[in-house]
Symmetry: C2
C-alpha cells in the first residue's frame, strides 16, 4: 500500500481518539498540543469524529481561564460498543463495553459445555448475544463487532476453532454458526486474557507472558504491547512444554508436558480429589482449609510451572509473568514453589511473577475491549459504516 494523504488522515484520526480516550476531556487546543498537529488540522479531524458518533462535546470549559473558552471533548458514551463473548468449559458469558471502556451489559449462564456439539452451544450463545445487544441498544449504543473467546487453538482466519480438546471441538467454523449482523473475531481465551491484562491491568508491563488455565494450561505472549500469535496462530502452548522429558504420556503425543503436572486434572488426581464442575473452587477451598494433600499437589504444580517458565523466560526475556484465569485463584499455594524454582534456575535475574486482578473475567473483557480498541485504532472504519 502506498503511503498517502488518506493513510495519514486515518492515522491522525486514531491519534486524536487515543489522546481523548487516555486523557480526556480535552479541548481541541489541548489535543493539538498533545499530538503535535496544528489546531486547524485537529478541528477538521474532531468534526469528522463527532459526526461519526465517536467523540462528543461536553459544552464550554469552566470559565476563569485565559482566552476564549474551548469546548471539552470526550469519547462518546453512546455510539459504537464492543460485544465480547466467552465459551467456557462450564459457562457462557456475553458483555457489551462502550468506547469509554465501561461494561454496559453482561449475562452469564452456567452449565457444562464439555462434549456438547458446537451447534446448540452457539445457538445458546447467540441468544445471549441478542439479549446483550438489545440492552446496549436501549442505551443508545450499537454493536461495532463481536469477539468470542474459546478455550482452544484458533486459526489465523479468526473464525475457525482448530482444536478445543476440553470441549471436544475440532475444525469448527464459528463464523458459519454465529449471526452475521456485525464483524466477528474468534480468539483463544489466553490471548484475550492477556490483552485484558495489557489494557486494564494495574501497572502491567508491555512485554509479558500471561499464563492462564481452565482445564488446560495456556499462555499468551505480549511483546511491545502486541500479541505474538505464531505462524498458525498457535503460539503460547505452555501446557505442552516438556518439564520432565521421560514423564507421563500426554494426549498431545509428548511425555512429561507441563499439563501432566500442573493441569487441573493432574492436580486433582495428585490431591486425591474427584473431578467436578467447580474444580478450581474445590482446590482453593481444600487448600485454604489446610488439606496437606491438596497443598502438596499445588506446590508440585508450582514447581512444574517454575521449570516450564524458566525455559520461557530464557527464550523470551519478558518484563514479567502474570498468572491469570483459574491460576489467579490458586496463586497463594502455587506461587511460593513457582518463584523458588524460577529464581534458582535464573540465578539472580528472576523475572517478577504477579497475579492478575481480573482473574476469570479477563478473557471476556479482553474480547469486548478488543472490538473497542479496533475502533480507537482506526476510527475511519466506523465513519464509513455510520
Amino acid at each position: 500500500m502506498p503511503d498517502t494523504q488518506q493513510g495519514m488522515r486515518r492515522r491522525n484520526l486514531a491519534r486524536v481518539m487515543h489522546a481523548v480516550s487516555a486523557e480526556g476531556p480535552l479541548s481541541r487546543a489541548a489535543v493539538a498540543s498533545r499530538i503535535g498537529l496544528t489546531r486547524a488540522a485537529v478541528s477538521t479531524l474532531v468534526d469528522e469524529l463527532i459526526r461519526s458518533g465517536l467523540l462528543e462535546e461536553l459544552g464550554p470549559e469552566r470559565p476563569g481561564r485565559v482566552g476564549r473558552p474551548g469546548s471539552a471533548l470526550a469519547v462518546s458514551g453512546r455510539g459504537p460498543a464492543g460485544i465480547g463473548a466467552e465459551i467456557g468449559v462450564d459457562h457462557l458469558a456475553v458483555c457489551a463495553v462502550d468506547l469509554r471502556g465501561r461494561t454496559r451489559a453482561q449475562v452469564v449462564r452456567y452449565g457444562a459445555n464439555r462434549g456438547r456439539a458446537p451447534e446448540p452451544v452457539i445457538a445458546e450463545l447467540s441468544s445471549l448475544v441478542r439479549e446483550v445487544v438489545a440492552e446496549a441498544e436501549s442505551e443508545g449504543l450499537w454493536p461495532a463487532g463481536l469477539a468470542v473467546a474459546v478455550p482452544g487453538l484458533v486459526a489465523r482466519d479468526a473464525r475457525t476453532v482448530v482444536r478445543a480438546p476440553n470441549l471436544d471441538w475440532h475444525d469448527t467454523d464459528l463464523g458459519a454458526l454465529l449471526p452475521e449482523d456485525f464483524p466477528l473475531t474468534v480468539g483463544n481465551e489466553a490471548n484475550f486474557g492477556a490483552l485484558a491484562e495489557l489494557w486494564l491491568g494495574d501497572g502491567t508491563p508491555h512485554d509479558f507472558l500471561h499464563v492462564s488455565a481452565e482445564i488446560g494450561i495456556g499462555a499468551a505472549l505480549v511483546v511491545d504491547g502486541q500479541l505474538l500469535r505464531g505462524t498458525r496462530g498457535f503460539a503460547g502452548e505452555l501446557g505442552h512444554v516438556p518439564v520432565r522429558p521421560d514423564g507421563p504420556r500426554c494426549p498431545c503425543g509428548g511425555r512429561g508436558c507441563l499439563e501432566q503436572y500442573a493441569g487441573e486434572e493432574a492436580v486433582l488426581r495428585a490431591a486425591g480429589l474427584e473431578q467436578g464442575e467447580d474444580r478450581v473452587g474445590l482446590l482453593a477451598q481444600h487448600a485454604a482449609d489446610g488439606d496437606e494433600d491438596v497443598r502438596d499437589a499445588l506446590r508440585e504444580a508450582g514447581e512444574a510451572l517454575g521449570i516450564a517458565l524458566t525455559g520461557a523466560v530464557n527464550l523470551l526475556d519478558p518484563e514479567g509473568v502474570v498468572l491469570g484465569g483459574a491460576l489467579a485463584g490458586l496463586a497463594p499455594w502455587l506461587l511460593p514453589s513457582l518463584r523458588d524454582e524460577l529464581a534458582r534456575r535464573t540465578a539472580g535475574q528472576a523475572c517478577p511473577v504477579s497475579v492478575s486482578r481480573l482473574g476469570s473475567q479477563g478473557p471476556l473483557l479482553g474480547a469486548a475491549h478488543s472490538v473497542v480498541r479496533a475502533v480507537l485504532d482506526d476510527p475511519s472504519v466506523v465513519g464509513e459504516r455510520a
Copy 2:
C-alpha cells in the same frame, strides 16, 4: 511523533529504495507503478536519492520501446557501505558490504580471544576495521556505520556487552573502545546470524527460530521479519532452557540446561575428546570418520536439542527452525535424533528444521547487512549526512 508530511516523505524515500533494491534496474515509471505513487512524486524522490549517492542512473533504456525512453535506475555500487565485524572466541573478522548487498572487502584473523582483556582485542579489531574501510574507500565507498557481532548478551543500548561468558567479558562498553568515526551497533551473534538468514537465506520463512552455537548455544527469534529482542535484549537464551530439571549443574545457576547436553564442551566430554581450538572441525572429522563415541555424543546432543526445541515450538509456533553457525557443520549427525524427538513430541505438527547455507559466515554478514538495511529503511539519514 506526529504523522507529518516530513514523515511521509521519509517513508516514501524508503519505498523507492526498496523497490529498486528488490527489482531494479527500474525506470521512474516502473517505480511509480510498483509503489502506487504518481510519476511526478517519484521523480522528486528519485532526484533526492541520486543527490545522496544512493541511486544511480544507468542511462537510457534500450530502444524499441514505445514512448520516450526512460533512464533505468539502480542502487548505487558506490556511496554508503555497511561495515560488519565479528568478535569470535577463536577469531576476529571484518567486512564491507555495499548497498547492492555485495561483499567488497573482508579480512579474518584467527587466534584465541578467550580470557583476553577487551582492550587489546578491540584494538586489534579496530585496526582490521581501518584496513577494510581503506579498501572500501579506494573503491568509492564510504562507511555508513559499523555493526559488531559478539558471543554474549548485549544491553538494549547496543553498545554494552553485559555478559560474554566464553570471552569472560562483563559489562564492557564497546562504544568507549571503538573509533567514533561512524555510527556503532553492537549485537548478539545469534541475532545477526538470524538476520542474515532472513535477508540472504534461500526461501527462509519470515517467522523462524535460528539456533546457533559457538561454545554456548544461542537462538534468535524472527517474528514477521523482525527480531524479537526481549525486554533487556536477552531473548533467545535457548542454551539455558531446562532439558532435564534434575540434570547436571550449569554455571547459570540452573540444572540440566540444554548447554549441559548439547554445548560444545559437553559434547567433547561425552565423546572423550580434548578441548582444542577448532572444536567443531574436530567433532565433524571424527564423526565423518565413523567414530561411534562421537556419533553417540552428537546423537544425544540432537535429542536434547529436540526436547528444548519442542518447548520453543509450542511457545512460539514458528514457521521453521534453522540450524546455523557451528551447528550447521554438525547437522548430519545432530539432525536425525533432533527431528525424531521434535516430531514425536509435537504429534504430526512437526515444525520443519533446516540447515543454514551461510554457516559460520552468518553473524558477520548479518552485521554488515544490518547497516545496509538501515540505510534502505531510512535513506534520509544518509541524505542529511552527505
